[in-house]
Every structure is written in structure tokens, then in C-alpha cells.
């Protein structure tokens, strides 16, 4: 049997299937990998991501926790500190607010506070984002909060292939990693390589090459930006679309190189616009030598300065959509900003 060919073959999987495959592969290869979370066993997870893993690996390795986010996350941290490799699923990333203490004060800082003597190889899975009609406490995009914390790594895979490869990279990483998974991506399908592979944390991906402007987008916004770029091409505007993939560490080089080439930068993300990843990226570019190449002010397109509303039309209006990205890109291309 040709092992190489088998390993490089790809199949069409959904984003959630890709995540599940990564978890199963890791659990098969490494008995210290365990899953923890609320209703991840027989229920299969609120978004059916763990699905049947409890049938395959048993309830000792696919552990339903009580509804105790602070305690549960802390148990995962303590286990990671002492030999296990837990993947802790928050049912919604919003509920990580209940566990901030363990994530921010403990997981992020233990290695440093202990002078490098301790390691916390824990992975937190964070279903995030709006678009499901679940309103203000179940729809947030809090990734930038965690990006502010040295000691944490924060990633946002946007494709099934990356969802698998980046989760496996997160598991192989000796430090705590938070994986933000947009809920609307779970059903998205794409080509996913079979077998084990890792997609490096900290590397952005150029999803579409272009010369007139750079759109840096994160998570689901990558797909909206690509759709906008396709339409822009029809109007004679060539947009380069960069999939950020990783918030911390952030890929300075790829972004700066693109802006040097295009001279125009639009940043699109779902989190609240102010104090978000757009602020970080625009400051990063302003502080770099790409500054001299800018032909227009940098534009940020982020979530409204409001909680996510319930009404579906308001909800749509609260975060960037293809049409708002398009409008912003046109203004930027025509220097109407």
C-alpha cells in the first residue's frame, strides 16, 4: 500500500467533521489527550462537534462536566500542568467569561510566574459569533480579549482544512491555545487532507492575490471578503484577501508585505470594532515601513458598538456582511475615505 498517497489524499469534510477527525486522531495517537465540556458526551456537543466520540473513546476520555465553567476550565488547566492534554469545549465561547480567572490568571501565566518550570498544554475550543438568532449572551466574538493576554495563543481557522491542522498544531503546542470556531462555519464543507498534519499557528494565508488593496479578514469574514473580492474584480478592482488565521501570535510579515504592494488596507472582523484586532493590525502597519506605501487611510470594518441583537435584520446589520465589505472596499479603492 502506498502510504504517502494515502496520507496526501483529501476528502470533502465539513468544518465540524474536520475538528472531530483531528480530535479522534489525537486521541488514538496519544492516551493523554482527553475531552472535557458540557454535554459533549451522549448529546454530542451543543453543535454536534464531538458527536459520537464518546462511543469511540468512552466517558472517561470524553467527559461531561457539570455546568461549572470556572471549575471545569481550571480542572483542565491543572490536568494539563500534570500530564494530561485536555481539550476543553466551552459550549459557547461567551461562557468563557465565567472562566476568565483560570484562563487569564492561571493558564496564561503559570509558565512565566514559575520561571519556565511549568507547562500548560491545554486547548480551549470556543464556538463563537453571531448569525444564529441567539442574541446578546450567545453570539459574541471575544477573541480580541484573549489576544491581549501574553501567554495565550489565539487562533481562528476559517476552513475545514485549517480547522483540523490548526487544532492538531494547538494540541502539539506546549502552551495554552484558544481556538475560536465560528458557529456558522460548522456546516461549511471543504477539502481536508487525510491523516495527521499540522497547520502552523502564527501564519496568515493569502487566499486571493491582488494588487489594488489588501483585505485582512478573520474567520467567517474571510469568506465574505472573498465574495466581495470576486465582485470587485468585475469592477476592475484587484483585492488581495489575507486570512489572518492567528491573532496571537500575529503574522506581521504577510500583512506588511501585502500592504507594501497594494498601498491600501481594509481590515474585516466580527468582534466589536473598537479596541479589536483591527486596531492592532492598523497600528502594526502604521508602525511599520509599510506606512510609507499607504495611498489611503486604513479602514476597519468590525462589529457594531452594541451587544448582538435578537431581531434578525438588526443582527445582520450588527456585523460586516458582503455588501458592507464591498462598499468599504470601493470607497477605499476610490480613496473616498
Amino acid at each position: 500500500m502506498d502510504v504517502t498517497a494515502q496520507e496526501t489524499s483529501t476528502r470533502t469534510l465539513s468544518y465540524s467533521e474536520a475538528i472531530r477527525e483531528a480530535m479522534a486522531l489525537a486521541m488514538e495517537a496519544d492516551p493523554t489527550v482527553i475531552l472535557m465540556g458540557e454535554d459533549i458526551g451522549v448529546y454530542g456537543g451543543a453543535f454536534q462537534v464531538t458527536l459520537d466520540l464518546v462511543d469511540r473513546f468512552g466517558p472517561d476520555r470524553v467527559m461531561d462536566t457539570p455546568i461549572s465553567e470556572l471549575g471545569g476550565a481550571g480542572v483542565a488547566v491543572g490536568a494539563a500542568l500534570t500530564g494530561l492534554k485536555p481539550i476543553f469545549e466551552f459550549q459557547f465561547s461567551d461562557f468563557a467569561t465565567l472562566a476568565m480567572e483560570q484562563i487569564v490568571n492561571q493558564a496564561a501565566k503559570l509558565r512565566y510566574m514559575l520561571g519556565g518550570e511549568a507547562s500548560v498544554p491545554v486547548v480551549f475550543r470556543m464556538p463563537a459569533g453571531s448569525g444564529t438568532g441567539a442574541a446578546a449572551q450567545h453570539s459574541q466574538s471575544l477573541e480580541a480579549w484573549f489576544g491581549h493576554v501574553p501567554g495565550l495563543k489565539v487562533i481562528q481557522p476559517s476552513t475545514p482544512e485549517d480547522a483540523k491542522g490548526m487544532l492538531l498544531a494547538a494540541l502539539a503546542d506546549p502552551d495554552p491555545v484558544l481556538v475560536f470556531e465560528h458557529k456558522l462555519l460548522y456546516k461549511m464543507k471543504g477539502e481536508v487532507p487525510a491523516g495527521y498534519y499540522t497547520t502552523p499557528i502564527g501564519k496568515a494565508a493569502v487566499r486571493r492575490a491582488g494588487s489594488d488593496l489588501t483585505i485582512v479578514a478573520a474567520s467567517i469574514m474571510v469568506h465574505r471578503a472573498l465574495e466581495a473580492a470576486e465582485q470587485l474584480a468585475g469592477e476592475g478592482v484587484s483585492a488581495e484577501v489575507i486570512d489572518l488565521r492567528s491573532i496571537r501570535p500575529i503574522d506581521h510579515e504577510t500583512i506588511v508585505a501585502s500592504v507594501r504592494k497594494t498601498g491600501r488596507l481594509l481590515i474585516v472582523y466580527e468582534g466589536v470594532k473598537s479596541y479589536g484586532i483591527g486596531a492592532e493590525i492598523s497600528a502594526m502597519v502604521a508602525e511599520s515601513d509599510a506606512f510609507d506605501f499607504l495611498d489611503a487611510p486604513i479602514l476597519r470594518l468590525g462589529g457594531a458598538e452594541a451587544p448582538i441583537p435578537y431581531n434578525p435584520d438588526l443582527e445582520r446589520a450588527a456585523v460586516p456582511q458582503v455588501d458592507t465589505i464591498l462598499a468599504a472596499a470601493r470607497r477605499l479603492a476610490r480613496r473616498e475615505v
Binding site: 458540557e38 451543543a46 457539570p66 455546568i67 444564529t132 449572551q137 431581531n311
Partner: protein
């Protein structure tokens, strides 16, 4: 010669008008949720919802002696609490439909329905989120010299959140007028109480915070009313908090995503046979509070309220798209 009144607590304690209103509210809860469910299936509303069908006695009996000055905090399964506290189903439907006429002007939806005017401080999307808030409401009442009490509704799953333990402790050390009402429907989503909770009865937790704790049949209207009545009396007398555990069951899945893999059909059917509405109605008829015809009239009135509520909601205007950021802060 002494005569003892052997009728159920609710029958001997509340007026026929109160009891009839309670029955009407139980029907309203059931028909409201069925209406919401159908509207969802027909694609008229989006999002998700948590139905309390089967738990109506717990909500309505707990609230039977509250006035608008009294407060409640509720949870994600909160439609019943809202109706029990006196909300108008038309405005609730309007909220479900995301309309400006809804209780939250279309911003909150099912999981955040509140009616501050009637003392409902709101449903909650965060399990355990309402517990400390209820303690704060009770602190206000005490400090401001008011006689109102706060009823705090939460599920069995919430008893494992830190907020539960912190809230009960503070309510106890400050002797606050709050009644913690745990609606134990056996599961927090798919996780049974046996698998999630170290004590057999959640009311046992009360001992750790030096307050009375009782467990009652949550599908028995009178049993719930009696337990909560005593807890409210204690709160109003300045003697502090209590914990009441109502054993009940949700007939529907946890939410729209539930495959019901963690419980059996037999279990669901056994609990459906213990319908709290049918039981209460039979009790009212048996004790002559109302007759069959009146009961039917009450049930029909609930149906028509719900139909009219849906009409009102469908006909109401949606919020203006430009007002996404309205209500984030106080308006100048």
C-alpha cells in the same frame, strides 16, 4: 368540636378568583409555548427556545401570592415565569417575533424576556446568571425598607455554578428576603442530576448556607404553593432566605438541537401522565372551585389570548435597522 380543613393548601388559602387566574396562567404558558414552537417550525421566528411545557405548576404556584412590587429573576427556560408574574402574552410574542412592541423591543428574544413593570427582572442566557442578581434585588428591598421579596428561579444544572454558592451564602449572611426556587427537571441539557451533582437532593445544599431547604412535587400545584408560601413569609418577616426544590420535568427537548438521546421514551411518557395542569384542574373541580364548563371556558380563553397575541406580534413593526446601537446606554 374542632374541624380540620383537609383540603389542599392552595384551595384553603387562596380565593376562587386567584385559583382561576392561576389555572388560566398555566394554560397560557402551555398554549404560548406551543404557539411559539409552531411559529418556529413555520419559519416565522428564528433562533432557539427552551420550552417549559410540563413545568407550569412550578412557575405559576410559586408566583401566586406575589404582587407587582415583588421581583423575580428567571432563567433561559423563562416563559412560564414571565406569564406567572403577569406578563402579557401579546408583548411576549412580539418579542419572539423581534418586534419593537416586544418587551425588549426586539433586542432580547426568548432568552431575555423581561417585564420590569411587573417585577420580572428577566430571563437569562447565562446559567446561574440570575442568582446573584436576585440577592441584589433582595438587598435593595432590605436597605430601602421595602417589604417586597424576590423569587429566584433556576434549574438543577445551575446549582453547580459558583454563582449559586456565592449567592446563597451572601443571602444568608445578610439575612435577605429572597427565595431560591430550583426547578429540578432531572437534567441540565443532557446531564442528569446524578451525574452532575454530589448531593441526592439539591435542597440539601441549603444546609451549607444555614437556610431551610425543602423538596416538593413540582407538578403538584398546592405542594409548590405551600412551600413557597412559607418561604415568602419567612423572607417578609426578615428571617432570611430559603431554598425550595420543585421536582418536575420538561416534556420537550432541551432546545431545538436536542436528539433526546439521554432519556427514554418511557420516562417522558411517565412524566406526561403527571400533567400538572390536568391535575390542578381536577383538584379545582373536585373541591368545587369551578365546574367542567368553567374550566373549558378558561382553557379556551387562553387559546384566544394566544391567537390574538400572535396576530398582534405579526402585525407589529420591526425595529429600525439604524437603531442597532439604541439602548446600549441611557438616552440623553
Amino acid at each position: 368540636m374542632s374541624t380540620t380543613d383537609n383540603r389542599p393548601f392552595a384551595i384553603r388559602t387562596y380565593s376562587p378568583a386567584q385559583l382561576k387566574q392561576a389555572l388560566k396562567r398555566m394554560y397560557l404558558v402551555r398554549r404560548f409555548e406551543e404557539g411559539a414552537e409552531q411559529s418556529y417550525m413555520r419559519g416565522l421566528i428564528h433562533g432557539t427556545m427552551h420550552l417549559s411545557i410540563g413545568q407550569e405548576a412550578s412557575a405559576v404556584a410559586s408566583c401566586i401570592e406575589l404582587t407587582d412590587a415583588d421581583k423575580i429573576t428567571s432563567n433561559h427556560r423563562g416563559h412560564g415565569h414571565c406569564i406567572a408574574k403577569g406578563a402579557d402574552v401579546a408583548r411576549m410574542f412580539a418579542e419572539f417575533f423581534g418586534k419593537e412592541t416586544g418587551y425588549c423591543h426586539g433586542r432580547g428574544g426568548s432568552m431575555h424576556i423581561a417585564d420590569v413593570q411587573t417585577g420580572n427582572l428577566g430571563a437569562n442566557g447565562i446559567v446561574g446568571g440570575g442568582l446573584p442578581i436576585a440577592v441584589g434585588a433582595a438587598l435593595s428591598a432590605k436597605r430601602l425598607g421595602r417589604k417586597d421579596v424576590t423569587l429566584c428561579f433556576f434549574g438543577d444544572g445551575a446549582n453547580n455554578e459558583g454563582a449559586f454558592h456565592e449567592a446563597l451564602n451572601m443571602a444568608a449572611i445578610w439575612t435577605l428576603p429572597v427565595v431560591f426556587i430550583c426547578e429540578n427537571n432531572k437534567y441540565g441539557m443532557s446531564t442528569s442530576v446524578e451525574r452532575s451533582t454530589a448531593v441526592r437532593r439539591i435542597s440539601e445544599r441549603a444546609a451549607a448556607y444555614s437556610m431551610p431547604g425543602v423538596t416538593v412535587d413540582g407538578n403538584d400545584f398546592s405542594a409548590v404553593a405551600e412551600a413557597v408560601h412559607h418561604a415568602i413569609a419567612r423572607a417578609r418577616a426578615g428571617e432570611g432566605p430559603s431554598l425550595v426544590e420543585n421536582l418536575t420535568y420538561r416534556w420537550r427537548g432541551h432546545s431545538k438541537s436536542d436528539r433526546n438521546r439521554y432519556r427514554t421514551k418511557e420516562e417522558i411518557e411517565a412524566w406526561m401522565a403527571r400533567d400538572p395542569i390536568a391535575r390542578f384542574q381536577a383538584e379545582l373541580i373536585a373541591h368545587g372551585v369551578l365546574d367542567e364548563a368553567e374550566a373549558i371556558a378558561i382553557a379556551e380563553a387562553a387559546v384566544s389570548d394566544v391567537e390574538q397575541g400572535i396576530e398582534f406580534a405579526r402585525g407589529s413593526a420591526a425595529p429600525a435597522i439604524g437603531e442597532v446601537t439604541r439602548y446600549v446606554y441611557a438616552e440623553a
